[in-house]
């Protein structure tokens, strides 16, 4: 490819030039009124914004992060993590044992995710039907909504060959007779660069940033960025106003006067962890102690491997091959299953994730371009021994997730390390490195097997990460089991709906973006219909 810098159009700057109403951290803002105020601009907030504005409703969106777009996306971790992620990509659970990657920018996590798109597995929906009374959530009933989202966001099979990092998963699994398949991606004319996690520089990724949000802004929706939804004012089972606090230049500290937004209806789409925390700060009724519990993460463990050949896991689309073999081995309610994928490998993410210091660390980094990595995403929330975590408020009333790691999860972790190591050796790995403080490089499957079986699996010794936040405002057909009704409305607040991943009563068992798109398409479409007295709008 040419080394000459290329120029590409930036649809966000074009929209701003057309007169979009975007206000960045207003320091002296008068109170505002609208039909619907949406907190958050990620998967849930983006879809909601398109459907509600399509129905002719006056919408305001509140986003804590900044508005960044393709011209800002320079494929550099040093810029991307502080600008586009919650807590500089270093958000942690209460005991600091799990590092969480979550977006904090216009478009939310959809701006920085790795584009993996899966419909909600039927087994997950069936579990919701059986355990939370969500009888209308069958695969058949959800199918038209997934289809709309797939068409709107160009979610389609990825046909170019996988990069070597993903192909190693395919080849290793094939040798062992383990099925591995291609992942659908929400891209259009993708350049196959491999920098999805730093914001797509070519606008190929069909994130909320370049699809639903521009649609809503073109319809006259207002977007207020670098402003934190502080709390709702509540009275008589209804929200009276949303109080918004503008932030300073870095987006870290309050700066300027808080203001109120009054709306007919309030949509909460701050994502799991943040949405329950906002309801807690507001003193929302919680008669059955459901708020913030059952927060799920798909806890992830990682296994790196040194190959003989160049892998260059930084180049080419990330996560294009997966295996559900270890999700499907046992019933969903049995021992915890896990999904295997191959993440992108970039210097900051890799250097800070791999264990060790000094020569051990330097040796791994010296072989950076020959390193391969697999991750196992564990399906939490389907067994009494997997209750997930609980959102709490910290000393500055900030969201804190307490997610204890227990033996049920460690059992899956050990199996996952074994599966990943075996696949990596089958794919030709020279040395395999489970990411654990006491694990060394293992030279053979036999050596790895014996060592992994003996590893003490404990918090902070085992590196656990997450990129999927779910639950905390779970849906159920009775207020005894959920924060929200099956239509997404809060059980005790009659003008507030939650439309984001915090609705999920369990984890999904797959990368969740399409689950949020499909669910929100259904729920926000129905809300738009109710508020506008028109038929439910669609995405296509």
């Amino acid at each position: 490819m040419s080394n000459q810098p290329l120029h590409l159009p930036d649809p966000i700057h074009e929209g701003l030039a057309r007169g979009w109403k975007v206000i960045d951290s207003p320091k002296n803002q008068a109170d505002l009124k609208c039909d619907v105020v949406i907190v958050g601009t990620g998967a849930g907030g983006g879809i909601s914004a398109e459907l509600l504005s399509k129905a002719g409703l006056d919408v305001i969106l509140i986003e804590e992060g900044m508005l960044k777009s393709s011209r800002d996306f320079k494929m550099r971790e040093a810029d991307a993590y502080p600008q586009l992620y919650q807590e500089s990509a270093a958000r942690k659970t209460k005991d600091k044992a799990i590092n969480i990657l979550q977006g904090r920018t216009v478009g939310g996590s959809t701006t920085i995710n790795w584009t993996s798109s899966f419909r909600t597995p039927t087994s997950t929906l069936e579990y919701w039907q059986d355990n939370f009374g969500l009888r209308e959530f069958t695969a058949e009933a959800m199918s038209p909504y997934f289809l709309q989202a797939e068409q709107r966001l160009n979610i389609s099979p990825w046909t170019p060959p996988p990069n070597e990092n993903n192909d190693l998963l395919r080849r290793g699994a094939f040798k062992l007779g383990i099925p591995a398949m291609a992942i659908m991606r929400n891209v259009r004319s993708c350049w196959n660069l491999g920098y999805c996690g730093m914001g797509c520089p070519t606008n190929a990724k069909q994130s909320m940033l370049v699809t639903t949000l521009p649609f809503a802004l073109d319809k006259g929706a207002r977007l207020i960025t670098r402003s934190r939804a502080e709390r709702y004012e509540l009275k008589n089972s209804a929200v009276q106003a949303l109080i918004v606090q503008p932030l300073d230049a870095k987006g870290l500290a309050p700066e300027g006067k808080p203001f109120r937004i009054r709306a007919k209806h309030y949509v909460l789409a701050g994502g799991a962890i943040n949405s329950p925390a906002l309801l807690m700060r507001s003193g929302a009724p919680d008669p059955y102690k459901r708020l913030g519990i059952r927060t799920f993460l798909h806890p992830v463990v990682i296994c790196a491997a040194l190959m003989n050949q160049a892998v260059e896991g930084f180049a080419g689309a990330p996560q294009t091959i997966y295996s559900d073999h270890f999700l499907e081995m046992d019933p969903i309610t049995g021992p915890m299953g896990y999904k295997l994928e191959a993440p992108p490998i970039h210097p900051v993410l890799f250097a800070s994730t791999i264990n060790g210091f000094g020569q051990l660390h330097a040796d791994l980094m010296s072989n950076f371009s020959k390193m391969h990595a697999l991750l196992a995403l564990m399906r939490d929330g389907f067994n009494p021994e997997s209750p997930g975590g609980k959102v709490e408020l910290g000393k500055a009333k900030q969201a804190v997730l307490d997610y204890p790691l227990n033996d049920f999860l460690w059992d899956a972790t050990r199996r996952a390390f074994l599966s990943m190591a075996e696949i990596q050796f089958a794919a030709g790995a020279k040395t395999v490195y489970p990411v654990h403080e006491l694990a060394e490089g293992y030279k053979s499957w036999g050596q790895a097997q014996a060592a992994i079986k003996a590893l003490p699996l404990k918090p902070l010794l085992t590196r656990v990460v997450s990129a999927h936040v779910m639950g905390g405002c779970g849906m159920a057909n009775t207020e005894k089991l959920g924060v929200t009704r099956p239509d997404g409305q809060h059980w005790q607040l009659n003008n507030l709906s939650v439309f984001d991943g915090s609705l999920f009563p369990t984890s999904i068992g797959a990368n969740p973006q399409l689950s949020i798109y499909g669910l929100t398409t259904r729920l926000a479409g129905n809300l738009a219909s109710r508020l506008s007295n028109r038929p439910a709008p669609t995405l296509v």
């Binding site: 490819m1 040419s2 080394n3 000459q4 810098p5 290329l6 120029h7 590409l8 393709s70 011209r71 320079k74 494929m75 550099r76 971790e77 040093a78 502080p82 807590e87 500089s88 270093a90 005991d95 600091k96 044992a97 590092n99 350049w191 660069l193 920098y195 520089p201 070519t202 870095k250 870290l252 500290a253 930084f314 180049a315 210097p347 900051v348 890799f350 250097a351 800070s352 264990n355 210091f357 000094g358 020569q359 051990l360 660390h361 330097a362 040796d363 980094m365 010296s366 072989n367 950076f368 371009s369 910290g394 000393k395 500055a396 900030q398 403080e437 006491l438 918090p459 902070l460 010794l461």
Partner: protein, 168 residues
């Protein structure tokens, strides 16, 4: 014997940490994050950076590389939530207390500490029975390694060419 020493040091560590917190609050009526961006912290990171990073591709870090990496560590910290900055400030304040440093078997100043002493300190916290100290090790590991490799100048040594295309 070794195990016993370890546990004793662990208990001592906890007491020292509690004491240091109290001391800190008395000495400065300021948020702990103010302890981050000081000359003392610079020297501490200048000692820890080569201990964490080692010699990528066999090349020992130069003083210039170390100083530039300290700047990047400071930049990284300055972009973290304020409460996290406070926690890091408390950790750095703690490590600068002479008694604590001696407890960690780093005999002279951090600047004069030998590579063996630094490695011993990192390894003892890495596997420490007290979760707080383990998480402090991980914080130093992630902060230093992440900030170090954030810069273009470090990429050649690890064979990372950077993005294949540039856009303006």
């Amino acid at each position: 014997m070794r195990r016993r020493t370890f546990i004793a040091a662990g208990l001592g560590g906890t007491l020292a940490l509690a004491g240091a917190g109290l001391w800190w609050n008395k000495k400065f009526a300021l948020p702990a994050r103010n302890a981050v961006f000081t000359q003392e912290s610079r020297l501490l990171f200048a000692a820890l950076i080569p201990a964490v990073i080692g010699a990528p591709n066999g090349k020992t870090l130069s003083t210039t590389q170390i100083n530039a990496a300290v700047d990047r560590v400071f930049q990284t910290i300055a972009q973290l939530p304020l409460l996290t900055q406070d926690e890091i400030g408390e950790l750095l304040g703690l490590l600068q207390i002479t008694a604590v440093r001696k407890l960690l078997a780093v005999s002279a100043s951090w600047t004069e500490a030998s590579p063996e002493e630094l490695a011993h300190f990192l390894q003892s916290w890495r596997t420490h029975p007290i979760a707080l100290l383990q998480s402090a090790y991980l914080a130093l590991h992630d902060l230093i390694s992440g900030s170090y490799y954030a810069d273009t100048s470090t990429w050649a040594a690890i064979g990372y060419p950077g993005p294949a295309v540039q856009f303006v």
